[in-house]
């Protein structure tokens, strides 16, 4: 069951005794304490790197739920421009977003190497269509932070040098926000 379905109307709350609720509370506190400890200076973050044309981009691995082969995209009449249509991820219907169009690049027909980066934003799933997925890269936090300079297209938060090349850092959340309007938790199913 995907997280959006969990948010949907028939969300199932498993009856839990008070003791379990309190235990969960305690667990969360402990986890928070640990997270505080790991915020050491040399933190490394992982990114999923992919190509659009010849340019390499990367999004935080934490935003990316999975990477799947691009299957048939069903066109949706009157969908906003960067949305190519919808696809089914094991029965869950999610919008397929053309990452090229999102970043203001010219569109390109899908190839066998095309992939769908499944991104989770506030409990909703979106598929980002990319030309091909390259690799997982590790970046240190200082490098990421110092990269956010100058003017960049919407959704691109910085650029870092990796080896001989440059990788543009992308924030899926910001991009969706800019291109598809406010990304609030899904409410469509609740409509009367």
């Amino acid at each position: 069951m995907s997280s959006e379905e969990r948010n949907a109307e028939a969300m199932a709350v498993v009856a839990a005794g008070k003791a379990e609720t309190l235990l969960a509370f305690a667990d969360a506190l402990v986890a928070q304490g640990q997270r505080g400890q790991t915020q050491a200076p040399a933190e490394v973050r992982q990114y999923v790197a992919f190509f659009l044309g010849e340019t390499e981009y990367a999004i935080p691995i934490l935003q990316c739920r999975e990477i799947v082969r691009l299957t048939t995209v069903t066109r949706v009449p009157e969908a906003p421009a960067p949305v190519r249509g919808v696809v089914s991820l094991r029965g869950h219907i999610m919008p397929a977003v053309d990452t090229r169009l999102c970043l203001g690049l010219p569109g390109a027909p899908p190839t066998p190497r095309s992939r769908l980066l499944v991104v989770e934003v506030t409990g909703r799933l979106f598929g980002f269509i990319v030309d091909r997925v390259a690799r997982i890269i590790k970046l240190s936090v200082p490098a990421i932070e110092s990269s956010a300079e100058g003017t960049a297209p919407l959704g691109v938060t910085g650029a870092v040098r990796v080896g001989d090349g440059t990788v543009l850092l992308m924030d899926a959340d910001l991009l969706l926000h800019a291109r598809l309007g406010a990304v609030a938790p899904n409410t469509r199913g609740e409509e009367a």
Binding site: E4, A8, E9, A10, M11, A12, V13, V14, A15, A16, K18, T21, A24, F25, A28, L29, Q32, T71, T72, T74, R75, V76, P77, E78, A79, P80, V83, V86, V87, S88, G91, H92, I93, M94, P95, R124, L125, F126, L176, L180, G181, V183, A184, N186, T187, R188, G189, E190, A192
Partner: protein, 571 residues
């Protein structure tokens, strides 16, 4: 931290709100029990235990206004057994008001904006009268209890939002679902083993049997999982009907007339989503029955009817669908007014039978009330009710006998997540239409179509229906023209009709309706999507919008311009 707190508040609301909603219903039962001379002790006990639970839960969450209100109501209940019968109405009023207040407070708990002022005021007012009663001795009761007027009654008429969004699963059911999932995984493992062997080119004699057996098992397991999960979505329709008990009582008081509300088949299970969406429209039907249907006491007496009017809310399963009945024993529909209105609208009433004329009330502007009273003439019309029912994949009908009453029947699916739909194709794309909106599917020959002032009309059953090329309306990439489409689907949404011209039709099938992401809210012509065999995703049309568009779309100019144009209604 905050997430955990809001999760705890949500648990609190889920657990406590049903109890608070039950308070009002129990008070009404108490009133009834007292009315027939019972002491109502068992009801008072159960009321107190519910209030006690609310108090405890609220105190644990630090929601002191809720806890205080629950506490003072507990006190009221404690005194209730001793009060004199003539003081009982004041007490009932206080309990009802307090129950409403609890519901309101609990509902606003997640937003963190408890109306502490109102809670304080209620607690102070009620506590004072309890003290006064205590001081005057046990027999004095709560006669001086001041009541707030005008503020009550809101809760039952707008019961939609507070309790939305969650269903409870019993631990046992979770275990069974896990077991089924486990079975499915075992089956898959077995298939994988055979698969691996086949890949190596080895084939054993028993493989075919193993695959047959496992596939049959898997089919059974997955079907059962689906059925069980669907059941989680269901709730007894009594949760919907129960909300109207208070409402009818208040209406009866307002009109100063006794009305009895009967509920039959309250245990019938229906999708929570249906209950949620029907809740408000049904208020209108019930209000309609009271405001338009039921005569004054004098009229009833003159007609030889019992003075106490009767409203029946019934439900039952028939052929896998839920039949809901809302009946009154009032004067019946005012056929003269309906006919007059129809004639004023230019409808040839001689073409309609009695039953069809009655159905006109589901069209906009057919309210038959002679005078707009406090009760009627507000809120939604029956056309809106019909629209909601249709949107749920159901149908509404009415049957009225002059002087004997009116019966509304709703025919609804058990769940909205499964719908019957017709799958059709246009250009190279596939779409689905819920069958509830389909009047007819016909072969569309060129001679059945005519274009007048760029309006395309399909002749259908001695009538004309506006038609539009589905490919053009839905923005498909094909070049085919409306005239060349071999089929037409005639749709009806509300009182509007429209025909879609399409390339092919496939049979009606049961589809699982899935919502579209909010990013696609702008796609007004779609209500969702479904996944067909081989994982093909198919959009489901929102027929209300599609029919509206069909009635606004003009044919392209003859010059070859093919862009869809939208203008104001011509009809």
């Amino acid at each position: 931290m905050e997430d955990i707190f809001s999760a705890l508040v949500k648990d609190f609301v889920d657990e406590t709100q049903p109890i608070a909603l039950e308070v009002g219903a129990q008070v009404l039962k108490l009133e009834e029990a007292w009315g027939v001379g019972e002491d109502g002790k068992a009801l008072l006990r159960s009321l107190r235990s519910g209030l006690h639970t609310i108090k405890g839960n609220a105190a644990m969450m630090g929601l002191s206004p809720v806890a205080q209100v629950a506490h003072v109501l507990e006190d009221v209940c404690a005194r209730a057994a001793e009060v004199e019968p003539e003081d009982r109405p004041a007490l009932v009023q206080a309990l009802l008001e307090g129950g409403d207040l609890l519901v309101m407070l609990i509902r606003s708990a997640p937003a963190g904006s408890l109306d502490a002022g109102r809670a304080d005021e209620f607690v102070a007012r009620t506590a004072v009268s309890i003290e006064a009663a205590r001081a005057a001795g046990a027999s004095a009761g709560l006669a001086q209890m001041p009541t707030e007027t005008g503020a009550a009654g809101v809760v039952t008429s707008a019961p939609s939002d507070g309790e939305r969004g969650s269903a409870r699963i019993a631990d046992g059911d979770v275990d069974e679902l896990l077991e089924l999932a486990g079975e499915a995984i075992v089956g898959q493992t077995e298939l994988l083993r055979v698969h691996a062997r086949l890949l190596r080119g080895e084939f054993e004699a028993g493989d075919m049997e193993v695959m047959d057996r496992v596939l049959t098992g898997l089919g059974r397991t997955t079907r059962e999982m689906r059925d069980r999960l669907l059941r989680v979505r269901l709730a007894p329709i009594a949760t919907l009907f129960g909300r109207y008990g208070r409402y009818v009582r208040d209406l009866a008081r307002e009109r100063g007339q006794p009305i009895e509300l009967c509920i039959e088949g309250g245990g019938t299970a229906v999708d929570r989503a249906i209950i949620r969406r029907l809740s408000e429209p049904l208020v209108h039907v019930v209000r309609n029955a009271v405001a338009h249907g039921i005569e004054t006491a004098e009229e009833r007496a003159a007609a030889g009817k019992p003075v106490k009017a009767r409203i029946l809310l019934g439900a039952g399963l028939r052929e896998g669908r839920v039949q809901v009945t809302i009946a009154d024993d009032g004067r019946g529909l005012d056929m003269q007014a309906i006919v007059a209105k129809a004639k004023a609208e230019g409808i040839d009433t001689s073409r309609y039978g009695e039953q069809d004329l009655q159905r006109l009330i589901f069209h906009a502007g057919f309210s038959t009330a002679k005078t707009v009273t406090e009760l009627a003439g507000r809120g939604v019309g029956l056309d809106v009710v019909a629209g909601v029912v249709q949107g749920l994949g159901g149908r509404i009908d009415v049957r009225s006998t002059s002087g004997q009453g009116t019966v509304f029947t709703l025919d609804l699916p058990v769940t909205v997540s499964l719908q019957k739909a017709l799958v059709f194709g246009v250009d190279s794309e596939t779409f689905a239409v819920p069958t509830g909106f389909i009047l007819d599917t016909v072969e569309s020959r060129e001679k059945d179509l005519q274009e007048i002032n760029r309006v395309l009309l399909l002749s259908w059953r001695d009538d004309f229906v506006r038609a539009t090329d589905a490919g053009r309306l839905l923005g498909c990439q094909g070049l085919a023209e409306a005239w060349a489409r071999p089929y037409a689907i005639v749709l009806q949404a509300g009182n509007k009709r429209g025909a879609l011209l399409v390339d092919w039709l496939s049979g009606v099938q049961e589809i699982v309706v899935k919502p579209l992401d909010a990013a696609l809210l702008g796609c007004r012509m779609l209500s969702g999507a479904t996944v067909l065999a081989q994982g093909k995703v198919v959009p489901i049309l929102d027929c209300v919008e599609v029919v509206r568009r069909v009635n606004r779309t003009l044919q392209p100019e003859r010059s070859g311009e093919t862009k869809a144009e939208v203008v104001y209604d011509v009809f």
